[in-house]
């Protein structure tokens, strides 16, 4: 399997960066996921091959991290933290709000493919709870009103 020139170059660098090749596994999976959208069977076998691992090893790691996915997701993945700090400051309502607004539940994708929704554990932004993450961007101190704005922004972006 061939990735973009840029990613190929990145992989080449990664593979030589660590004393153990396998240490490059997680970054590689993340980059591949960003480019392909999710981790396909083909990506699994390709990366296993590059790092001299078994496919089983690669799958073990993927299944450990909720950030890595093996099914297609929306263009924007909305992750709502419902862990303790966020929970205390209204994360549950926030998540309900998202469900209502997007019309999908946990790990589901909107029919237009623009959004997917996930309820996740602590994303390390407790000081600004409730917090959400959309792809790699954080949004802090979120209220249902703020949430609507954020989603509107992404909806427009997705159209562009």
């Amino acid at each position: 399997m061939r990735f973009s020139e840029e990613l190929e170059a990145r992989f080449a660098r990664l593979a030589s960066q660590y004393p153990w090749k396998r240490s490059a596994l997680i970054p590689m999976l993340l980059y591949a996921q960003d480019e392909v959208g999710y981790i396909t069977d083909e990506v699994v076998s390709d990366i296993a091959h590059r790092l001299e691992l078994s496919e089983l090893d690669v799958r073990n790691v993927i299944s450990y991290y909720s950030l890595l996915r093996t099914k297609p997701a929306g263009k924007y993945v909305v992750q709502v933290c419902t862990n303790i700090s966020c929970l205390l400051l209204g994360a549950d309502e926030l998540f309900e709000h998202c469900k209502h607004r997007l019309g999908v539940g946990h790990t589901q994708v909107t029919p237009d493919g623009r959004f997917s929704l996930e309820e996740v554990e602590c994303i390390g932004a407790c000081s600004w709870a409730p917090a959400i993450q959309v792809n790699y961007d954080f949004h802090l101190d979120v209220t249902p009103e703020k949430m609507d704005k954020v989603l509107d922004q992404y909806a427009t972006k997705a159209q562009a």
Binding site: S54, E55, L56, D57, R59, N60, S63, Y64
Partner: protein, 785 residues
Amino acid sequence: MADVNITVDGKKVSAPAGTLLIEACKSAGIEVPAFCYYPGLSVQGACRMCLVRIEKMPKLQTACTVPVAEGMVVTTNSEEIVQARKATVEILLGNHPLDCPVCDAGGECELQDMTFRYGAAESKYMEAKQHREEQQWSPVVYFDRPRCILCYRCVRVCGEGMDVWALGVQNRGVTSIIAPNKQDHLECEECGMCIDICPVGALTSGAYRYKTRPWEMNHVGTICTHCGDGCKTTLGVRRSKGGMEIVRGDNRDKSGINGDFLCIKGRYGFDFSHHEDRLTQPLVRQDGKLTPVSWEQALAHVADRLKQVRDAQGGSAIGVIGSNRTTNEENYLLQKFARSVLGTNNIDHHRTADYPAFAKAIAGKQNATATLRETMTAPAVLLIGNDPTEQHPLLAWNLRTNHRVHNGRLYIVNSREIKLRRQARAFAHVPEAGGESAMVRYLAGEENYASQIETAGFNRDAMRSFRDAVKAEQGLVIIFGSELRGDDVQALVRFGAGIGAKFVCLGDYANSRGAADMGLYPDLLPGYTDLARGSGFAQEYGSVPQQPGMDIVSMFAAAQSGRLGALYVVGSNPVARYNIDPAALKNTFVVVQDMFLTETATTAEVVLPAANAYEKSGSFTNTFGDLQLLKKAGDLAGVRSDFELIVRIADRMGADIRKLVPFGKGVRADMGQSRGAQSGEADRHMVWLSAHNLEPKLSPFDPEALLDEIERLVPGYNFSRLKLFAGHEAHTFAPEHSSVGQPSAPETIVPANDTLFTSGTLGRYSNAMNSVIENRRAPEEIPAD
């Protein structure tokens, strides 16, 4: 390493520095319960069952991860510890069903034992248990997730122990799950080690699951009947309508030379034994068709015809072919019968290794053969040819363990990229066809062979450093396959002896070595004794023909040209193996003893249904020379042991049975003396015999009577009886004591080429071996044994 002194429960214990606390406790007879810890595998520290209190340490510690330290004071049993263990069991039971009565592991489950001991069946958890459906991963491996306690023993034994790495862990926390390498199924070596090592009923075996209960079986420790390594396998048997059926094979108690290792053949490959095609009635050809007759009729027919041919045409018109799977006693008896009753040296078997050349090369050396156990502890091993992963799975296991646990150095010479190269310090990848033998010459210092083995990947420098490294090794064990024959073996032994090495010659079947040691050769008496030097045997047997007989190939040539009046085949299928046209045998009276109607049996005039090695007692010698006792486990109505059949035929031919099988000698004389002056002697003798598990030999069908004779007459078989009868192996030294003149016909050696999933004729009738998907390679040829 220096010993360290610690105190455990008030007891002084010392153990070498570096020993894990749990092992130190065990050596002092103090049990610390453990789920994830398993000796020989890496430390996991996952289950927290082994908690103990160590003075001066703030919290309870896991005994499986802490090495002993000088002055340590340890408590393994206190109220606090009992509570902690109870809590651990409670957590483990959080997701575990409480239905031991329907679980396949019920009655031999470590979790069940611990729950009984610590009484944690009552749970404080309110959460619903996570249920998942049971999965079948292969014909032999099933997985039931809810029962799994995530000890990771299976993952480690498959990876570290087997070097297969077919099992992994997916997800995390309470949702963790053991996963097979192909997402919904396994592609692996199907050894069943993962099932065996699983402390609970999460992994179960397709062969055994839900068939019976451990306490409903008899457990008989005997020797595997497949490859030449001789694993001990404990067969679970129970009564069935045709006798005793074998339902399970394992070696949980780790007795025997294999510890708890078994490959798929030893663990599941017993099912040929109750295959529906088993012969259970003697057959005699009538009007061109093999027809069931009584034993009386069949035996009389065989004896009459053999006698006729012998008396009319002489012994040289009779050929005898023995087996790689019959016992030493049977092989010995067969050649004795051939030589002393039939009066012929025309005796041979399907040869899979050049044992005679090995014996000739090694003759006169002291203690020059390595035992199987030594392959696990030797500081260095040189392996030339063969692929032990496929053909000698236990040896492969030992070499891997040696590498992993004892830092043994492995050097490999092979024309194929065999799997064991992953453990090798150096791998000489030599060209096919003759590469191994050229490499031996090169090792021995014949520089001109270098050009024959040089390849892009293995250049002169690599060659030289390989040789230098091997030559610098002390305590080397050299193991070689059938790629090396004749002069190559001679050259190798000369080279190895120069550096003080010990040797192993690899033969393919369970008793290939025994067949060779017991003299199933036309030119060699038992113990590789040259015919010219066999006066000891001649004296004992009455007479032995002086001329070397015909080998297997010449026998069929003789049959073709009408010079072979009779052929007696015991447990072999040469017609298929050597591609013989059945028409070649049309003028020969053929008798076959076998379990199945093989290609050879279908050409016979009489077929006698034989018992297999799981259905009789006797002994096997593995390819290393380790002698071990078989115990009768299975039983099938209608079959008889080859031993009994040979004796019965000899009897009907009018031979003196007491000479053939010296039963009732010695011991019996004492037995009658229950009164009179000597009575006490006799009783004491009986007491001694039974105390040592010895039995008086009172029957002509008792192989032990011949074991005595083997011990007495076969050079190199002066083994320790006590060891043997206590269930251990006893190393023998026939090659060292041999007197081979001119080793014959290396061209009659045809390797079995078995894989992990085939095993000669037995493999053809084993559903377990045929059902796994790894067994896709079409058989190259039809096996002989």
